[in-house]
């Protein structure tokens, strides 16, 4: 596999309530291990994945935030968040456990056009 494609993984569900967030993250990590450039975009309730101080031990789940914080170890550092999704929930970049870039609607459409494969969860 010599070819390379730009992957965008869109994650728009909150953590823990369903497997979507975990599956999106596993897809991003695996794709990066295949040495493809991967970006992640958090939309809608997906921004809640980025909250610090997640403590899911009491619900017998693994800490999604802990695994998210490994993204830089996989060279996934193109991380984007929908500006209005974050603001409308009363959150700011300071609440996020990783450095992410804010995008407005136009920039999101542009981001999509800049990727070859878009996988959404």
């Amino acid at each position: 596999m010599s070819t390379s494609k730009r992957f965008l993984v869109i994650s728009r569900r909150p953590p823990y309530g369903s497997s979507h967030a975990r599956d999106a993250l596993d897809t991003a990590l695996t794709t990066a291990v295949f040495e493809q450039p991967v970006s992640m975009l958090f939309l809608d309730d997906g921004v809640y994945q980025l909250l610090q101080a997640q403590q899911p031990a009491g619900i017998q789940q693994k800490n999604l935030g802990a695994t998210l914080s490994a993204l830089p170890m996989y060279d996934i550092d193109q991380l984007y968040v929908c500006d209005s999704a974050l603001r409308s929930r009363g959150l700011s970049l300071d609440d996020c456990l990783l450095p992410v870039q804010l995008l407005d609607g136009n920039a999101i459409a542009q981001l999509i056009r800049n990727h070859d494969v878009v996988l959404s969860f």
């Binding site: 596993d26 794709t31 969860f121």
Partner: protein
């Protein structure tokens, strides 16, 4: 064109499982090829050999297998998603010391890397979600 499909919807819970099959049929009818159909999340239930829908309802795993046989399709089920949900082949049943296995004929368990590989080599990747 070369297509790959990601099936994330569980049969009977979500229409997406059925939509994916219909899409695959339409795709092949037009002479396109399908590099891989990858079953992920609850979509893995579409590969159960033990699914027993009523006789007057379609058996999706069986239809996938027939389609795969006719067109040499690669039906791959995410191994991590499958094993946690109790969908095993003989090998994984041995590995986890379980009393039986239930992966439908025509499907194989493999890693999530097969999804990445499919997206890399295919012209289009279409997701059927839930």
């Amino acid at each position: 064109m070369i297509f790959s499909l990601l099936v994330y919807a569980a049969p009977h819970s979500h229409q997406g499982a059925e939509s994916a099959y219909r899409f695959a049929v339409a795709c092949l009818a037009q002479g396109h090829s399908i590099h891989r159909v990858f079953f992920y999340g609850d979509g893995i239930h579409g590969a159960s050999a033990l699914a027993a829908p009523p006789q007057d309802e379609p058996n999706l795993p069986a239809r996938w297998q027939a389609l795969a046989q006719a067109h040499e399709l690669d039906l791959v089920v995410c191994i991590a998603a499958a094993v946690r949900r109790g969908l095993l082949d003989a090998n994984e049943a041995r590995r986890y010391e379980k009393p039986g296995h239930n992966l439908h004929q025509g499907f194989e368990l493999s890693g999530l890397g097969q999804l990445a590989e499919a997206a890399i080599v295919s012209d289009r990747m279409i997701t059927f979600g839930a």
